[in-house]
Amino acid sequence: DDSKLEQLKAQGFARVAIANEPPYTAVAADGKVSGAAPDVAREIFKRLGVGDIVASISEYGAMIPGLQAGRFDVVTAGLFMKPERCAAVAYSEPVLCDAEAMLVKKGNPKGFKSYEDVAKDTSATIGAPGGGTEEKLALNAGVPRERVIVVPDGQSGLKMVQDGRIDAYSLPVLSINDLMKKANDPNLEVIAPVQGAPVYCDGAAFKKGDEALRDAYDVELAKMKKSGEFAKIIEPYGFSAAAAMSTTRDKLCSAK
C-alpha cells in the first residue's frame, strides 16, 4: 500500500521533525536547516520522488506524540532506537550512531565514569533532555528521579554545568562535542563514551501504519550506504557510517 508515498509525492514535500541539537541538526544564520539527520532525509526523499522536506524543530518529548497525531510524516532527530520506542513507531534501518557522553567540570571532580557512578554519589545531579535516552539510562542506572534534572536544551545544560547547578550533563558524544566547541570553555571536560552505556543508533521514525513508506525509505537508504554517498553526507558532521552499517534495526529493537 503506497498511498502515503503517493500523497507525499503529490504535495511535493514531507514534514520532518528535527531537534534543536547540533550536529544532528543545524540552522544556519539564514534560517536554512541542515545537519546530518535532515540532510540524509532530504536526499532519500528526493530519490523517492518527494521534492523537498519541510523541517520543524521540536522538543524530544513532543516528537512521538506529534508523529502519532499526524503532525509530521517522519522524525529524523537522533531519536535512538530502543525496544519501547520500536513499539511506538516504525523505524527505518539505522542512520546515525553515537555513544553517550557526559559534560563535567574540568578534572571530573566527582570521578564519573558511568551512570551508576552518578547513582552512587547521593549528592550528585545529572541533567538530560526530557524524554530522551540519557534520562532513561540514568533512571535505569538507579539515579533517583529528583536527581535527574530535565533540561530543555543543550545550551541550558551546558550553562547549568558551568554554573554548578548540575554535576554532569549527558548527551550523545557528538552533541556534547559541538556544545564544547561553541562554548570554548577550558573549565569543562567531556567524558566519552560513558561506560556501560550502549552505542545507540537512530533511524527515521515513521508512524505505525506507514510501514510501506518506511520500507521504501529503507531501500533507498541501503542503496546510499552501499554507494558511499551516505558516508559522504554524515561524516563531515562527525558521524561514523561504518557504525551505522554494522548493526540493524532488528538487533537494536530487540536489545534489552
Binding site: Y60, G61, I64, P65, Q68, E84, R85, A88, G127, G130, G131, E135, K136, E146, I149, V150, V151, P152, Q155, S156, K159, M160, Q162, D163, G164, R165
Partner: protein
C-alpha cells in the same frame, strides 16, 4: 487512543509530587508579589521624580514582556554576573516580580479609590499625614483590594507551568515527563487540565465570597 484508567492510577503519585511544587511556588510567589507590588506602588507615589520614573518604567517593561523570557533571563543570564539561583527560587522571583507589577496597580487603584473627601475630612480633623494613612486611608483601601489581589494570585497559579522551562519539576513538567516515558499524552494532560479547572472553580467560589465580604465599602 483510548483512555486508560490503570495508567491514570499509575501516574497519579508522580503528578501529586508536581502539585505540591506548583502550590508551593504559587504561595511563595504570591507573598513576594504582594510585597514587591507595595514597594512599586509606594515608589511611584514618591515625590522623588528620579525614583518614581525609574520604578515606573521598569514596572512597565516587566509587565510588557513575557514571563517565560524573564524566567530564562533570571535563570540562564544572571549567573554571568554572579547571581546563581536554584530553580525554584528563580521561579518564585520571576513570578513575584512579574505579578508584583500587577499588584502594584491594585494598590494604586485601592488608594485612589478612597474619595478625596476622606483626605479633606482628615485634614479638617487636623490629623497628621501618618494618622491619615493609618486610621483613614489604609483601612478603607485594603478591603476592596483583596478580591483583586486574590484574582492575580489565581492567575499566577495558572502560569506556574512556565517554570518547567527552568527545570522546576512542577505539575506540567511532571506530566510531560510521564508522557515522554510512556508515549501517552491524553491522560497526563487531561489530568493536569482537570486539576487546574478544579482549583479554578473552587477559587471562583472563594472570589465571590471575598467580593461579597470585602468588595464594597458602604458609605
Amino acid at each position: 487512543m483510548e483512555w486508560d484508567w490503570d495508567f491514570v492510577w499509575q501516574i497519579m503519585p508522580t503528578l501529586i509530587q508536581g502539585v505540591k511544587i506548583t502550590i508551593l511556588a504559587t504561595l511563595l510567589g504570591s507573598v513576594l508579589a504582594a510585597i514587591v507590588g507595595l514597594g512599586i506602588a509606594l515608589a511611584r507615589r514618591s515625590p522623588n521624580k528620579a525614583l518614581s520614573r525609574t520604578v515606573g518604567w521598569s514596572a512597565e517593561f516587566i509587565r510588557g514582556t513575557p514571563l517565560l523570557v524573564q524566567l530564562y533571563f533570571i535563570f540562564y543570564v544572571l549567573p554571568d554576573i554572579g547571581i546563581l539561583l536554584p530553580p525554584l527560587v528563580a521561579g518564585v522571583i520571576g513570578l513575584g516580580l512579574h505579578y508584583g507589577t500587577y499588584t502594584a496597580e491594585v494598590y494604586r487603584a485601592g488608594i485612589d479609590n478612597v474619595p478625596r473627601g476622606q483626605w479633606e475630612a482628615a485634614k479638617a480633623c487636623n490629623l497628621s499625614a501618618r494618622q491619615t494613612w493609618t486610621h483613614i486611608i489604609i483601612p478603607q483601601a485594603i478591603p476592596p483590594m483583596i478580591p483583586a489581589l486574590a484574582n492575580y494570585f489565581i492567575a499566577m497559579f495558572k502560569e506556574t507551568p512556565l517554570l518547567s522551562a527552568i527545570t522546576v519539576l512542577e505539575l506540567m513538567n511532571q506530566a510531560k515527563s510521564v508522557a515522554n516515558t510512556y508515549y501517552r499524552y491524553i491522560e497526563p494532560i487531561t489530568l493536569v487540565g482537570a486539576f487546574f479547572l478544579a482549583i479554578s472553580l473552587c477559587s471562583v467560589v472563594l472570589l465571590r465570597w471575598l467580593e461579597r465580604r470585602y468588595g464594597k465599602i458602604e458609605r
